[in-house]
Subunit: 411 residues, 2 copies
């Protein structure tokens, strides 16, 4: 597919009250891995380089909340706009920012194509955005669709079945949608109060007022709208899944440590992408810097010293500077290696208290620290212990449980 | 609502191939907390006393799998029937069992009302079953409906929008549905091969062939159909949520232990329903037996002895006998209390290895054992440590992570 040649901006209605969730917090502000859902949708737009401006439309009482979210997570190219009392009125308000020179100091350029996307659909990919924008340039309007999951039926006055629709002939209209700006803006200017108050479908307005039959683009299942509490659960699990795809194993240059690093790598690589680095942490290693500028959210640092405080503090500082923990919690597993004939090895509570305190401090930087002890009598029993360590590592990075930070697990 | 006065049985089509999940395992056989989804739907029917027979219809290659599931989880009143190549053909096969004296040795009584429910909708409650059955007795047919989440649209030949449906006028047709047996059976007998091969909606057949306009009953959000991978994630989270609503704290009669039990109770009770029992475990306590016959899946056992092996083994035996772990994993947290001035208290690895080995054994009985150490210098710092223990307890029972069994967490 050709790169985008039009000026493109996006409007994200985020004004819903989230009644269906049954909770007090509107769903777009519910936290997933500690960060509000709306921030995920904003991020999904922001990382697409050819989207110029992102207008987030929120209800008046949430404007300050939204601004503080943008500040906290460092979102760029975002303008917060006051919403109306319905979805259509909110989208219209969002579009007006481009058409009118409003009170805002900054004048936003009117785009050729405008994307409309929901704040509660966090997983939209560049690919589908490109598809709807390209189709909108050609057809004036375009929207993502999905097959219907349930049969749709019409009920009569008496609450009984009137007729059922043939499922194959219909589709669910999802988001994102895209429009030539002039078409959708004209449609909103011409539509009635009844449309603005009771309508829900932008494609319908483009058809009704501009005779534009939107191109329908098959979307992926992950475009679904977070509506119920179960959808928040699902979104949280998907995010955790995405975050646990890659792990970086850091060892120093000592032979025993490097060997355990190698065995762990072998044991983990069938389940997760593994990067392994052997370095002296005290040097500012460029390979490590590369990892930190990538998409890795899990680090396993192997040591044979008892809690190598200085090196670990350095790693934490580098992670913090990298901005990786800004959007997602980072898991840092401190592996303590102890190969000794002395089976009566024991762990002092003072030591444990120290790790817990350290973990609590570091959690403020959105880094989750766990301890993992690999202890065995000899090199013969090492493989089994390493396999157990790999299983515990996967459990920790998949769960990302903030309550378990600072605990020392034993492989 | 009146109790059910009709003879009622149920048919569960479970023949789907689960293509939409993108996995090899059909979704009805995917494990949730270790147990296949279909077993949850069967259990939901089985626990309703007024449902006589439960027919599960599976594709020929899964008949043995289904029979072993029924055996393993001790399901009663279930008959496994071979499905057809489509949903309608499978349901028809299920209905035939009541109408024809088939090869099966056992002759099932023809019910007045038959419930049809999907194997992939695990959370159906007695209340909605009662509503559709009652409505079916009055109207001949009835089905659960839900509001539409997305606008439904019709696409033209060119892949462009033809028209969109006014969302408020339509509903999603969900399950359960119920029918007077003679009506739905007659509909299936009369319908065409095209209906059997391409149709999906039972309510439609009742309308088309028996002129029966089904009564539509508003269902709850949890009736949704597990369709995509995200739905499995959601279902798993809902089950974990349901399992972590109640905890039983077991202490012996010693003062220090009972005091910590009391403090933990106080700290937990705002988050979870707590039952507290002070007993001598060696006696076969009837109160404990009562708990075991209830719906509690989490136990916290406080001791001041180092791993009171005998008492714990006794508790495990009682749990096993109670059948509680048959359907859901049970969490058993062994709290070791140590109040001592000696801050250099330490944990021996030999001891840790012992708990891990024990936990691995007990996991085979579907009991997840975790260790939790409450250690503090004096009674002044006890409250803070207890709060930390409560937070860890909640994390353990909410997560039910089988990889972390046998670990000793420190409060
Ligand atoms: Mg969808
Ligand atoms: Mg639904």
């Amino acid at each position: 597919m050709e790169p985008v040649s039009a000026a493109v901006s996006a409007v994200l209605p985020a004004g819903g009250s989230g009644e269906r969730l049954g909770g007090a917090t509107p769903k777009q502000f519910c936290g997933l891995q500690g960060r509000p859902l709306v921030s995920y949708a904003v991020r999904a737009m922001e990382r697409v380089s050819w989207i110029s401006d992102i207008i987030v439309v929120v209800s008046p009482e949430n404007i300050e909340t939204m601004k503080s979210i943008i500040e906290k997570y460092g979102h760029k190219r975002v303008t917060v706009v006051k919403g109306g009392i319905t979805r259509h009125r909110s989208i219209f308000n969002g579009l007006k920012v481009f058409a009118e020179n409003q009170s805002s100091n900054r004048l936003l350029q009117k785009p050729e194509v405008v994307i409309i996307h929901d704040a509660v659909r966090p997983f939209v990919e560049e690919d589908i955005l490109l598809k709807v924008v390209t189709a909108a340039k050609d057809h004036g309007a375009a929207g993502a669709i999905r097959p219907l999951v349930s049969t749709v039926i019409a009920s009569g006055e008496d609450g009984c079945l009137d007729h059922s629709l043939e499922r194959a002939r219909y589709r669910a209209s999802e988001m994102p949608q895209a429009f030539l700006f002039d078409i959708i803006y004209q449609a909103y200017q011409q539509c009635t109060d009844h449309d603005l108050d009771y309508g829900t479908e932008c494609l319908h307005l483009a058809l009704k007022y501009c005779k534009t039959n939107a191109k329908l683009v098959e979307g992926t299942a992950d475009l679904w709208k977070v509506t119920y509490k179960r959808d928040l659960y699902a979104a949280e699990s998907i995010i955790k899944d995405n975050l646990s795809q890659q792990i970086c194993i850091i060892t120093d240059l000592k032979e025993a440590v490097a060997q355990v690093g190698f065995l762990l790598h072998e044991s983990l690589k069938s389940q997760v992408k593994v990067e392994a680095i052997s370095i002296s942490l005290s040097k500012n290693d460029s390979h490590l810097q590369n990892i930190f500028s990538g998409e890795c959210y899990n680090f396993l640092c192997i040591n044979d010293k008892e809690y190598a405080t200085e090196e670990i503090q350095q790693l934490v500082d580098m992670l913090e500077k990298s901005n990786i923990p800004l959007l997602y919690p980072v898991v840092l597993i401190l592996v303590h290696l102890s190969i000794s004939e002395n089976i009566s090895f024991s762990i002092g509570l003072e030591e444990l208290t120290k790790i817990k305190k350290f973990a609590r401090e570091v959690k403020k930087k959105n880094i989750l620290v766990y301890g993992l002890l690999i202890q065995c009598k000899d090199h013969f029993s090492l493989q089994e212990t390493v396999n157990s360590a790999a299983a515990l590592t996967m459990a920790l990075i998949k769960d990302r449980n903030p309550e378990l930070i600072g605990q020392l697990l034993v492989a």
